[in-house]
């Protein structure tokens, strides 16, 4: 756990400078870079269970790929979310929470999301404080989601 936090700190610093660094062991170099994300996803409901809504669709923007969102409506005005994006060559996983409100035929949410981990080309991905918002068409379950902010890889 401690090692993980230290590693994240090194990567964050590298991302800010936009340069490659060497690991402490000096055996490999990591080229960290910052990506400015601006994603839009269009999803449809695949299933629901209890307070959870499971959505699948496609993301477009900085990164393109299949996107999955698991929304957990923890209260009438609060939702938590896990987001998985599968671009070519890897994957990204993030989680966050948002305010949630119902307005007639649509429900909307708006909050923050953190990129927790990745695989493949995005194995070192992380980021926090990303803007995360969207709307849910209550009758059909269709979701439009927007994600923006900076992520380091």
């Amino acid at each position: 756990m401690v090692a993980g936090i230290m590693s994240a700190g090194v990567l964050t610093g590298a991302a800010g400078l936009g340069v490659g660094i060497s690991s402490a062991a000096g055996t490999s170099a990591v080229a960290a870079r910052t990506i400015s994300l601006s994603e839009t996803g269009h999803l449809h409901r695949t299933s629901s269970s209890g307070l959870k809504l499971n959505e699948q669709g496609s993301a477009s923007g900085t990164i393109k790929g299949t996107i999955y969102i698991h929304l957990n409506v923890v209260s009438p005005n609060r939702v938590t979310a896990e987001v998985n994006i599968y671009p070519s060559g890897g994957s990204l996983t993030g989680s966050g929470s948002a305010n949630y409100s119902v307005n007639g035929g649509t429900a909307s949410f708006s909050g923050k999301l953190s990129i927790k981990r990745g695989t493949g080309s995005y194995a070192h991905a992380h980021g926090s404080g990303l803007n995360f918002s969207g709307t849910i068409r209550r009758l059909s379950g269709a979701v439009t989601v927007r994600l923006s902010g900076s992520m380091s890889t």
Binding site: S48, G50, L51, K52, L53, V73, V74, S75, P76, N77, R78, N99, Y100, S101, V102, N103, G104, G105, R138, L139
Partner: protein
């Protein structure tokens, strides 16, 4: 906090104002009186995890022989675990101004949430009371992100009042449940008369008896909306509801009710 943003239709505004002025005359007659309230609640159907219609009713009685004081607010607390996620109740928003101007025809059928009736007492006359036969609950514009329920009541003679008032669904924790807080307006009785007292209310919130409409392939299609869902598990003793009431004379009362756990299938 729930907020009363629209009280009485234009046609009866003068009655309301008159009634409000006469409250000062009326209040001393109830000095020392207090109210007791009984609450009944139900899930229909009462099945774990199923879409349901919530029924609630309350009856107000005075602890003396006098008429009970007019009701000014009701806060109905719902049991934890009620699931709002998949409900399709309230797919349209009803604007209070349109409701006041045109009645129910001013709002989409898809904004209806439920219905009920009330029984009121007049502070004069020989009759024991009158029914307000039709109270409609509709989805109002959200307030601070909270769900708002509009209540529309149209009384006829002798209680000639068209009322729109609102309740706001508040949640105090991360556990679903919440409370529907409603400010109840003074209901004018007749010109130069004090407000009536609500004796009882029966209402439902849920898909029972509701028909919504959507468009599919260019055709208007009717459907029954999905209600809120009964919690997935039932606590020992049943699903607890409670309601707190305040009255114009400054008194308050609390009532509790439990919906029994569904019977287990054998």
């Amino acid at each position: 906090m729930s907020k009363l943003f629209s009280r009485i239709g234009a046609a009866t505004a003068a009655l309301a104002a008159t009634a409000a002025l006469l409250v000062c005359w009326w209040l001393p007659t109830s000095a020392g009186a207090a109210q007791t309230v009984t609450l009944h609640t139900s899930f229909s159907p009462d099945k774990l995890g199923a879409s349901t219609t919530i029924g609630f009713s309350f009856h107000i009685a005075s602890t003396t022989n006098e008429m009970s004081a007019p009701l000014t607010s009701v806060s109905l607390s719902l049991p934890p675990g009620i699931n709002y996620v998949k409900t399709t109740l309230g797919l349209a928003i009803c604007q209070p101004a349109a409701l006041l101007a045109k009645g129910l025809s001013g709002c989409s059928p898809n904004s209806r949430l439920g219905a009920g009736n009330a029984f009121v007492e007049l502070p004069f006359g020989k009759e024991s009371g009158y029914e307000i036969p039709d109270i409609q609950a509709l989805m109002g514009p959200p307030h601070n992100g909270n769900i708002v329920v509009l209540f529309y009541a149209e009384g006829r003679k002798p209680v000639s009042a068209q009322l729109v008032f609102q309740g706001e669904l508040l949640t105090g924790s991360e556990v679903l449940g919440g409370s529907l807080n409603t400010a109840v307006p003074l209901i004018p009785s007749v010109p130069n008369g004090p407000p009536v007292s609500i004796v009882s209310v029966q209402a439902t919130i849920g898909p029972s008896h509701l028909t919504y409409y959507t468009h599919a392939h260019g055709r208007r299609v009717a459907f029954h909306p999905q209600g809120v869902s009964v919690p997935l598990s039932c606590p020992r003793g049943g699903f607890p509801f409670s309601a707190s009431f305040t009255f114009l004379d400054g008194s308050s009362a609390v009532a509790k009710s439990v919906v029994p756990c569904p019977r287990r299938r054998r």
